[in-house]
């Protein structure tokens, strides 16, 4: 049982990372925009609440999949903006393929081979 929960944690973490990388696909964004876009882009299906966004963002930045830069005037309030790196884009593409295979396999099993459409 603990192994299964660990697997689910890994899966949840991968989904969260993919969501963030996905919303950064086309343009750089502030943290709050990322959180809003994840919630609105998935029609509320996914939400990064209670600041769960930040450890994920910082981990992705540490791995080099996204890059943050400070935006704002000197003396004024600084805001951090994130953008997807080439490495992050490559990782995202790999993760999307992996999840497609996973979802196809799951639906194939649950619905039967004729009803799988991904």
């Amino acid at each position: 049982m603990p192994e299964r929960s660990a697997d689910l944690q890994v899966l949840a973490r991968s989904v969260n990372e993919m969501l963030i990388l996905g919303v950064l696909r086309d343009e750089e964004k502030h943290g709050y925009q990322i959180a809003l876009d994840v919630a609105e882009g998935s029609a509320g299906l996914f939400e990064l609440r209670h600041g769960t966004l930040y450890p994920i963002l910082h981990r992705l930045e540490e791995r080099g999949w996204i890059r943050g830069r400070w935006d704002g005037t000197k003396g004024g309030r600084r805001k951090k903006v994130y953008r997807l790196t080439a490495e992050g884009r490559k990782h995202l593409a790999g993760e999307v393929d992996r999840f497609e295979v996973l979802a196809r396999g799951l639906l194939h099993l649950v619905r039967g081979p004729r009803h799988v459409s991904l």
Binding site: Y32, G51, T52, L53, P55
Partner: protein, 262 residues
């Protein structure tokens, strides 16, 4: 007064990280909270509701703060939890001794091989002692700032001044030695028979060059290291300033007391 002061204080209290990481994280969260609140208000959400939704979405829970800490935690801090305090201190002392002694022994060996240590100036030894002091002070301060990441405001500027004093002492000792050696040379030249002055002058020149070279190199290295350490201290102090400005009265909860060992 910051609208999200209570939220930020709660995050700051649990965010046990060194500066400037700590201030940067707090700044990022504070800016996002404010931006999201304004965005929601622009969309027609009531002020209080917008504030509550911003906090709900972006204010890190204890679990999220702990996850942030684990991403940014310095290696030394995580090692400190694995090893005993006395073990870490012993390793630090050995490291400091090595950093201080190895360059000094290498320099002495080079001088010995160059034949300079056959009849060195008596002033060379105080210069080398101050060199060792400078190296030790620089190494211990660098250890505190870069490895231990002990950024406690009370200890931040400690041991910086002595680096400059010891560097100056090295030049002073070398200069005094050069003057003393010069007066000895004059006496020796007066007593030396004609044609043998060169035999007195060349060793003097070599000894004095080594003496002044050691003193000036120590001062140069000490000064440069002091400058770099000073820059780091200034950056950390600026981060404390930014963190304090995020709150209205600047009286943040005391910074989480540095490394688990201090």
């Amino acid at each position: 007064m910051s609208r999200f002061e209570a939220t930020l204080r709660a995050v700051a209290e649990r965010l046990e990280l060194p500066q400037p990481d700590r201030a940067c994280i707090l700044e990022e969260i504070a800016a996002d909270l404010e931006e999201l609140r304004m965005e929601l208000v622009r969309r027609g959400v009531d002020e209080r509701e917008a504030e509550a939704r911003a906090v709900d979405l972006l204010a890190p829970s204890e679990t999220a703060i702990d996850a942030l800490v684990s991403v940014h935690e310095p290696l030394y801090w995580s090692l400190s939890r694995r090893f005993t305090r006395s073990g870490m201190r012993r390793a630090e002392r050995l490291g400091l001794l090595a950093v201080t002694a190895i360059p000094l022994l290498l320099a002495l060996d080079a001088l010995r091989q160059g034949g300079v240590l056959r009849s060195p100036s008596p002033f060379l030894w105080p210069v080398l002692v101050t060199t060792a002091v400078v190296l030790g002070l620089v190494a211990s301060k660098a250890l505190q700032l870069y490895l231990e990441r002990d950024h406690d405001p009370g200890r931040l500027r400690g041991r910086l001044g002595p680096i400059l004093v010891a560097s100056a002492a090295a030049v002073f000792a070398a200069g005094m030695g050069a003057v003393f050696e010069l007066s000895a040379l004059v006496t020796q030249l007066e007593a030396a028979p004609d044609g043998e002055t060169i035999g007195v002058f060349v060793p003097w020149l070599l000894d004095t060059a080594v003496l002044l070279g050691a003193g000036l190199t120590t001062a140069l290295v000490g000064g440069l290291c002091w400058f770099l350490l000073q820059q780091k201290v200034t950056a950390v102090e600026a981060a404390y300033g930014r963190e304090a400005r995020l709150m209205s009265d600047g009286a943040l909860a005391p910074p989480p007391s540095v490394s688990p060992h201090l």
